[in-house]
Subunit: 375 residues, 4 copies
């Protein structure tokens, strides 16, 4: 059984996103963690000893026994999931790609690179077409967006499709897990708000347009929208909340906006990817939802919630969005990307040919677990 | 000494805003608390027994011994400060005004009434002119705004004056003290955000324009601006934070906006009101301020802080505002209004004539404590 | 399938413990919720409308559609699980028992009654023998202990068996879910500790001895120990932490105490009860565990954690205990009791004869789901 | 005016205790801060730039402009207050003492040294007699206890005097400010308890006996008591809460214990030290006090609160103690020690002779500010 699963190496495995990857992959039907890589300080230790484990579930025994490797190729794995910090990712992810690995990255380093797909696969699985143009062969790099951006893009996608969106105002209330560990000192955030998160507003303002853009001539044409973001850190454990106002392409009643959320269809529908939630979006119609502590884990943390949909005196509509920042916004997003690539049979690590990437239209649902790369 | 001070009755004295009024008036140079009124349940008890005291400073002994009276005239006081809930205020504040009391109210009931001044006295002390038109004689009603609105209006005032403001987008992160006691259950807010506060967005959207409006022909002409508000409750004790974006009347460099904050002058400058802070606005130039726990108490809670001033990709400027919700946003605001009225010699409770209210231009600073009402 | 499950009525179903019962029974292999009862205010409403749902998982659809019944017999159920408050339980649980229901109660009303088993079944399943003496026929009442007491009793059980325990000092740090909803106002507990919980210390001091006592002559002979408890409320969501010092019956090295925890055997071993955790006790050997947020949910909340085992300068040993207050300490405990009664074939509600209760020695493991009461 | 004040240098001035020293000394009638010293990283910077200021009041301007010096003599000051970490204090405090400075230290390094007074001056000002035996001449080292220990010793002092105390069991619930900045990561403590604080239990168990001991033959004879401590970190900002049980030297009614608290007299009574609170101990007689957020700042943080006094089933009495950890438990304690030394005229820095220290009986109250060290 294990023999037929795809072997995954995790880069940055000892950090909080790395730990979440390990936790989410503990019983994955397609993947198994066979290598963990981290910084020099941890190399050579067992994962068990190298990691200040913060997940609620116990550390998976098989991973606990792995020795931490350096974050450089080669790694005893077929593909790599990267939870590296941006600076390290900038240097080492291309090296893995050139060594033939599919690099599925949560890091910020390459997200905005023109040939790197920035995927929320329910929305833009077709952006995989960019891989045909990537320079780091024979592997490649695929990324998922920043955690807040993911929530925003998911909530905007139905509106972009139905009406167009030209202006977006978003204020975030972000959980402390987004800052990793040790992250924010308790003394700075207990009973407090910090109205600033370094680089966050810029990421939201730039990444969203790329995610929602269209493939034109082999490149992403960003969605033509202006975005203004205010980012705040709040004393919440999991779940980023976003207060969003948007100007639509045309003036419509709120009921039509509500219907657009209901009628929107994911590009993953019918594919049976293990980490895809039954629905990407859950819309609450009561007055007080969604709330981080109650609703961040909907759909095992992969569902994005929308609530308080109402008209906006300034733009057209406004609403609240909730996204689980370390699952849908980080580790779960990377795993879903890996599942998409497996389903498209793009995980022939070490053997990928440019020609494999040419016909990137969606294929029929993958019926069973993918064969391992070296059967 | 006490004989020469103005005798204050507090309506709704056992609630959290009532307690804050009691605490702030403990050593006030002009006022002394001589009566406390509350709901039926408390009437007849000593204030000490009727109150679940939540202020950090011990309950003032003199007030502790007072017996709670019903919230109806007459009251053993010259003026009343009202911390009643809106429904009770709607019924009983006019009764007090008709009985000859100056009613200085924090309640929401009469704020938007055309003849009721909605005061942030540094900004619009001239709105006292409305009193000449009030129907509840021989007393009157004066109000202060909702807590969040106060912060917003204070921050917008210099921009309105310097450039004009046409559009405002505001997202609030509001402290739990704003909901009183028992208020919000811990189970609902610990490690959580509730993205809704009943009535709050409507208050912000309606009150702000009145505060920033001009007196024209004996009425307030609201400032012509559109406002969109998202209100959130966060696990913070004191201090509402607001993320604001604004479109100005004309396009100016950020440095000019910064200068407008610095150059703005309060209508109270030089009056020496005891509760007026040295400056209404404090502008932070670092990246991470203001923060509720660190800065809400600036100027003894009467200073409003502004920070993170920067351009907005959507509107023109954006910034963060912090206001102490129970001081500047409630009890301290009412007391400052009372001080303004004392300085204008408008606290002749029981004897006020309509003619007293005609010449409401600012007078020279009051040099000493006001004479008592019955010299 | 549903036809063969035992039909459960939940008393006090709209409260937090009632909700936890509903959540934990959502997919139970032996039981199904067929009736929900609550106070007058809720009677007649759908459970969906009557309940301010606070569980992270969505409300089970089948339960959501039930109409709330009054907390009086008859109820469309075979047995009742009671999450009533103590006063209501005192009045109505006997009525249900007399009407033929097995009443499995989390309430405090009858715990210390001489003929009522106070069960932590891993420790004292043999206390079911008390049922032979109960007066409320043809049904009966079985209880589980107070939440903190449960943790203490579980941790002491191995020590009582191995060495005897004569003196116990315990200080609790209790989570806010223990107070239900609305429960504690946020204003009272955010960034604070309340060093008092009404009735809690008395419950810990009295219940523990009964749980750890022996059946002698058809009655419980309490364990001969003196207990001193300090109870505190802390801003934690789930999980009561207890700092315990104990004097043992004889002086032993800490290693022997550690071994006593490891070697202790549950009375449920081998029975296969669905809610019984793999091990009742998990002992941490590191310096900083257990912690409420990280470890309260071990064993799906049914495992009690022990840590920081070390000698005590005053008594003999000291250690930290963690118990999930609403699962092992309330709803999960009641369900485990119901499972034990089902396994002992004591859930013939409405038909129980006194003679059924005579031979109460443990029987062989129940291989399949119990037959319903009316096949 | 400033010329007549004693010049104070602060060691470890950029840390949280150092900042609290700066804040508390901002308007001190006897002392002025003339030097700030910190680690290499900060040396040469202005205090303003070197410090991540966390105090609610703005940084005092005069201190903000000081250049940070290395933590080595000489320093532009008459005496030094030390907020160094223990390791640095171990090395450098003796150097300052040998260079002629009175070193008034909050650090743990020298507290248990036989010739170093461990002062809570209300309790044991007479321990200054130890200075006659100190080796680091011509200056000396005086210390204050660990923060939790301070609260415990203050509460036990009246009982030791009135009845004797033989056994003490204490469980602490400690605020996060006790760990400094960055201190505890938010991810470790938000909605959580950490049942361990490195070294804390050992300090409580050893320091308390020394503080409460008697001077016999020029040395401290520790109070003969056994102490067992459990230390916990809780998500509270300021104020350590202690749950204490004590066995008294003789069995007395609780009313007598209550009276002992009321009748106890401080060794500082009548001395007029600026930082001494009106009463060291405040005893609450209600059921739910003291609480950290409400009561830690009593007496400007220098009063220790006691509450929930009741009999203990195991030892004799039990009660709750609250101490402001960074004021009475750290910075305020050091300042009070400095005031005591000034009042005793023991701050002749650089000129102290052993003979000055011989007659250390209490002198008459110091009527005015002390003369500077070089009259």
């Amino acid at each position: 059984m294990s023999a037929s699963r795809i072997r995954v190496g995790i880069l940055g495995a000892t950090g909080t996103v790395g730990q979440k990857l390990v936790a989410l992959l503990a019983d994955h039907p397609w993947f198994e963690v066979t290598a963990v890589a981290a910084s020099e300080r941890s190399v050579g230790k067992r994962y068990r000893e190298a990691t200040h484990w913060l997940e609620p579930a116990p550390m998976p025994e098989a991973t606990a026994d792995l020795r931490v490797a350096p974050a450089q190729p080669p790694l005893a794995a077929d593909i790599v999931l990267s939870a590296l910090d941006a600076a390290t990712a900038a240097a080492f992810e291309p090296a893995f790609a050139r060594a033939g690995y599919a690099v599925i990255s949560n890091a910020g380093a390459w997200r905005m690179h023109p040939s790197v797909p920035l995927l929320v696969p329910e929305i833009n699985a077709d952006h995989l077409a960019l891989l045909a143009t990537q320079e780091w062969r024979p592997g490649y790099i695929v990324t998922n967006p920043n955690c807040s951006t993911t929530g925003l893009a998911c909530a905007l996608a139905p509106l972009v499709r139905a009406f167009g969106v030209s202006d977006v105002h978003v204020t975030t209330l972000q959980a402390i897990t987004g800052a990793g560990h040790p992250g924010i000192p308790a003394l700075d955030i207990l009973g407090n708000v910090v109205p600033f998160i370094a680089g966050e507003e810029e990421k939201i303002e730039s990444e969203t347009s790329k995610i929602l853009g269209r493939i034109v001539g082999g490149r992403v044409e960003p969605a033509p929208m202006r975005i203004s973001a205010h980012a705040n850190r709040v004393p919440v454990l999991d779940g980023h909340l976003l207060c969003v106002s948007a100007r639509l392409g045309r003036c419509v009643p709120i009921a039509d906006v509500r219907a657009a959320f209901a009628e929107w269809r994911s590009q993953l529908d019918g594919l049976g990817l293990p980490s895809a939630p039954p629905r990407l979006l859950h819309v609450f119609d009561d007055a007080v939802s969604p709330q981080p502590r109650l609703h961040a884990s909907l759909g095992d943390g992969m569902t994005v919630s929308v609530g308080r949909l109402r008209s906006c005196p300034l733009l057209d509509v406004r609403f609240v969005v909730l996204v689980h920042n370390t699952v849908r916004g980080a580790a779960g997003a990377a795993i879903l990307n890996a599942e998409l690539l497996a389903q498209r049979e793009l995980l022939h690590a070490g053997k990928r040919l440019a020609s494999d990437l040419a016909p990137l239209a969606a294929k029929s649902p993958r019926p069973t677990a993918p064969a391992g790369p070296d059967p």
